[in-house]
């Protein structure tokens, strides 16, 4: 075989994570578990929900680069 064609990845996708307070987006390298993502962002599990697309996911769920993730805070202060 005279040539070995190597296809380099032209664009490496990372998971897009939507955050609130303040509203912002960050890109995180996957794959990683939900609880690792929260830890990396220094967020407490008890105060957040992790939503992939429009489905809730548990802390042990594996998240991939192609996923769109929303981390939704659950605390409200108007008491």
């Amino acid at each position: 075989m005279p040539f070995a064609i190597r296809l380099s990845q032209p664009y490496h996708r990372r998971m897009i994570v939507q955050l609130s307070h303040p509203t912002r987006q960050v890109e995180i390298k996957g794959p990683k578990r939900t609880k690792e993502l929260l830890r990396e962002l220094n967020l407490v599990v008890e105060a957040h929900l992790v939503i992939r697309g429009d489905e809730l996911v548990t802390e042990d769920e594996m998240l991939a680069d192609a996923d769109r993730i929303e981390i939704r805070p659950v605390i409200s202060g108007g008491v």
């Binding site: 809730l56 548990t58 805070p73 409200s76 202060g77």
Partner: protein, 313 residues
């Protein structure tokens, strides 16, 4: 993680460390309904015949509460107080109205609306400035007044608010930290209509954490306002909740033990506490080995030393 309740072990959508459980969507919805039904029953909040007025704000707790009560078959209308906080109030009002029209109306429930600006001539922010009072306390006074007035004037048997376990635990922590004992009496999940003009007030979500209620709202497609009220920034309640959530993460069940433990103590009949000296005299006796006071047969020091000597041989 699989559902711990389903015999077929369906994939879970939420883990609940404080219950050492995980649930799929259907089992979680059942769990939430059961917790609310249990709170209503154990605190004698209301019966299926009662007319309930739910205080709604457009947030997850109040809309989830209205949703759950309607699903459980209760006769629940709601009142929304528009506080006139610019875009925030517009958005929350829109979400409440949307829920009322698309879901609540199908259950025969109606929405009442009070607009602060129409009665007071100014929104909450301006009123707080005029009165030289913190915005949150001005807001609290207006909401408590309007919800109570509407409940009494429209002959509702009871007024329900979306206060959850986290709200109650955070408030308890604040009251204990400042030794505000006079407020502790009012921390129960059901406050009677103590005098003429006061509506009975109940908190059917008191057994559920904020995260559980948010999960319920997401799973049941309840469109609520996720943004925090701009006036709540820097609130002490947020700080107390943050502290409690860190404790909860390290030790699941802390919030529940803290608040439910307080409620248990509240319901037990009061008796004069035994003095420390009287209790010691009743329970302590000399250790047969060394003579120092102990509650056990042999004191823990003598037991430890005996064990150490045996091991050293």
């Amino acid at each position: 993680m699989n559902c711990t309740k389903c015999p077929t072990s369906t994939k879970a959508v939420i883990g609940l460390p404080r219950h050492n459980a995980a649930f799929c969507k259907d089992c979680f919805t059942t769990f939430v309904h059961e917790q609310v039904a249990r709170a209503i029953k154990s605190h004698k909040m209301f019966t299926p015949e009662d007319r309930i007025l739910v205080a709604v704000s457009g947030g997850k707790d109040s809309l989830a509460l209205w949703h759950i009560l309607l699903k459980l078959g209760y006769r629940a209308d709601a009142l929304y107080v528009n506080l006139g906080i610019g875009g925030y109030s517009e958005e929350s009002h829109r979400k409440v109205q949307l829920y009322a029209d698309t879901v609540a109306a199908a259950h025969g429930a109606t929405l009442l609306v009070h607009v602060v600006e129409q009665e007071a001539g100014a929104g909450i922010r301006e009123l707080a400035t005029i009165l030289h009072r913190p915005t949150c306390s001005t807001c609290g006074t207006i909401k408590r007044y309007q919800f109570n007035r509407a409940a009494v004037e429209h002959d509702y048997d009871v007024m329900a608010t979306g206060h959850n376990l986290d709200d109650e635990a955070a408030r308890l922590l604040g009251n204990v930290l400042h030794w505000q004992e006079e407020y502790l009496d009012k921390q129960g999940p059901a406050l009677p209509a103590s005098v003429e003009g006061f509506a009975k007030k109940v908190k059917p979500l008191c057994r559920l954490s904020e995260r559980e209620i948010a999960a319920y709202a997401v799973l049941n497609r309840i469109d609520y306002i996720v943004e925090e009220c701009p006036m709540a920034k820097g609130s002490k309640m947020l700080l107390y909740k943050e502290v409690l959530n860190r404790l909860e993460t390290e030790s699941p069940g802390t919030k529940q033990r803290f608040y439910w433990g307080f409620l248990d103590k509240q319901t037990k009949p009061e008796s004069a506490p035994e003095s420390m000296a009287a209790k010691d005299q009743r329970t302590l006796h000399p250790c047969p080995s060394c003579g120092q006071p102990t509650t056990a047969d042999t004191c823990s020091y003598c037991k430890m030393m005996a064990k150490a000597k045996t091991a050293a041989r």
